[in-house]
């Protein structure tokens, strides 16, 4: 396990990608072309850009679901590589929210949300308290025993948000979290996402098409053709 040496001024950098290249199909589809990127603790960063520009791929690399062909990605100062215990990383450091909620349809809302706690071996009582806290904040407390099929699109995405935050990760990765929702529901879910992330002190990295939503984040990073095209200054 290797580390980046953060200078005192960079202490709060929790995500750092350096010269990251990624391609698929034996190199025939080049998705990331030398991406340099970093995010500070507690920031809400929007990754904006057209489809296929590499937003999701960058999220997957930061989340440890994939590895770069060249370059390196470090989270909380530690490079993600094959020496790192990725199971522990996924359990405790990262939470994912996807465009299509990716919930298990035959389980209830409660059971879906408890999956990360179950995987991490969290005391069931503690896990349930945490679930109650999250569902209260997301307005889902009355839907705990409902199966996913019975929930609306917005409720499903809020469930996914609860699940992602169950184990109190320090980083939340959201891939087009409102992409499958109508405008009104999208706004509600996004506000919730942002408020929860800020309330929990979580670093949010969100891929989105929606520039209006992106602008509500602390910082907007634009991607184009596999490159960080125009990093925007921190807005707040």
């Amino acid at each position: 396990m290797s580390s980046f040496s953060n200078s005192p001024a960079e202490k709060r950098v929790v995500i750092r990608a350096e010269g990251v290249w990624k391609s698929y199909d034996a190199g025939s589809i080049s998705v990331l072309k030398g991406v340099d990127f970093e995010a500070q603790a507690g920031q809400a960063v929007a990754l904006a850009g057209p489809s296929g520009c590499g937003k999701s791929t960058l999220l997957h690399l930061v989340g440890g679901l994939d590895t770069p062909d060249h370059g390196r990605v470090a989270v909380n100062g530690v490079v993600l590589n094959r020496h790192r215990d990725m199971v522990q990383f996924l359990r405790h450091e990262i939470g994912f929210v996807f465009q299509l909620h990716n919930l298990i349809p035959d389980l209830t809302l409660e059971e879906n949300c408890l999956l990360p706690a179950q995987a991490a071996g969290v005391d069931p009582r503690v896990a349930r308290e945490r679930l109650n806290e999250l569902t209260l904040r997301t307005g889902l407390q009355g839907r705990l025993k409902h199966r996913i099929q019975k929930l609306s699109g917005g409720e499903r995405q809020r469930t996914a948000l609860c699940r992602a935050l169950m184990n109190r990760p320090r980083i939340l990765l959201a891939d087009e979290p409102t992409g499958s929702l109508d405008e009104q529901t999208a706004a509600i879910v996004f506000d919730l996402l942002l408020n929860l992330a800020r309330g929990e002190g979580v670093t949010l990295l969100m891929a989105t098409h929606d520039l209006a939503l992106a602008r509500a984040c602390d910082r907007v990073v634009t991607m184009h053709d596999g490159r960080i095209h125009e990093p925007q200054p921190v807005l707040s």
Binding site: S56, H60, G63, L65, D66, V87, L90, R91, H92, F96, F98, Q99, L100, N102, L103, I104, D106, L107, E111, L114, L115, P116, Q118, A119, A120, R163, N167
Partner: protein, 368 residues
Amino acid sequence: MYLRLIFTNLRRHRIRSFISLAGIALSVAAMLTVVTILQGAIGMFSGILSSGAELIVFERNVSDLFFSDVPKSAAAQIAGWPVVAHADPVLFGVVSSSDHPIITCFGITPEDSRLLKATWVAGNVADFGQHKDDVVLGQRAAEFLSASLGTQVPIGHGIFRVVGIVKTANGFEDGGVFMPLAESQTFFHKEGSSVITIRLRSKDEIAAFKQQVRVAYPNLIALEDAEFSRTYSQFKILKATAWAVGGCGLALGGLGVANTMIMSVFTRIREIAILRVNGFSNMQIAATILGESAVIAIAGAAAGLAIGTAALYGLKAVPALHGYVDVSLQPLLMLIVVVLALITGVLGALYPAGYAVRVRAVEALRFE
């Protein structure tokens, strides 16, 4: 939660789970039935041989007792040894009638304990052996030969008069023919007997008796009942066959489980990816797959035991099989069958579980 995931997946594909469970259940039932019947048959055959005796003397190194030839003189001498309380020479033969190609024939003396212990449905034990063409039939043999007391029955190349009908709990005996030893020797062109069953005055003399047989008759061997059951090659073949047939059944059941689990894994690649993204380790993912197959195997084994037991009782009730089916289920056998089913189920899920842990979340989730 594991159980919830396991049962949810099984319920999601009810038909497939049921077919897989039925495969294991039928395999277990087949194994239980075949092994129990054959073990019962072995027990019955063993019972024929011993019939209350402690030792069996027969020709050394014969593969089948029907080929064993114990000289008449040896039987007479051994019967006279002081340690011997009772000695019954028995000649085994197989005869046929018009409808029944195989009828076991017992050439015995009037003092043989088989007839003395049997329930006489017709006739009297005192009538046995008075005339050379007289036979006593087992009750089932009398039924399929349509014979009654005093009738003449064609058996093999001879015609015999029925002087008695006996009922015994042993299927071979109940479907067999008892001939006077001398007549059976003539009938089968043998001078001696197949075996001598021995009861000693004291069980402490068993080792000494065996040694005495070894010295006096090097071509004969004396074995205790249990020892004989363990070592007799025919029994070994029967047992091996029973387990092989049952094993093949279970292997097929295992393939059914493998097929179900492979299909189950292939249809929820995305779900496995979700588990992985939520921090499930390889072991935890494999445990859900193996757990599903274990549930199928255990439920299948339980159903199989019930079906097998019912089948055995059903077979026992068939008149033609009276005495051939021993329904005394052995707990050890049941445990072995259940454990084998469980192992089969888990083995069948190894490849699917291995496939599941190799699922890459990023590939499974990339295309939404």
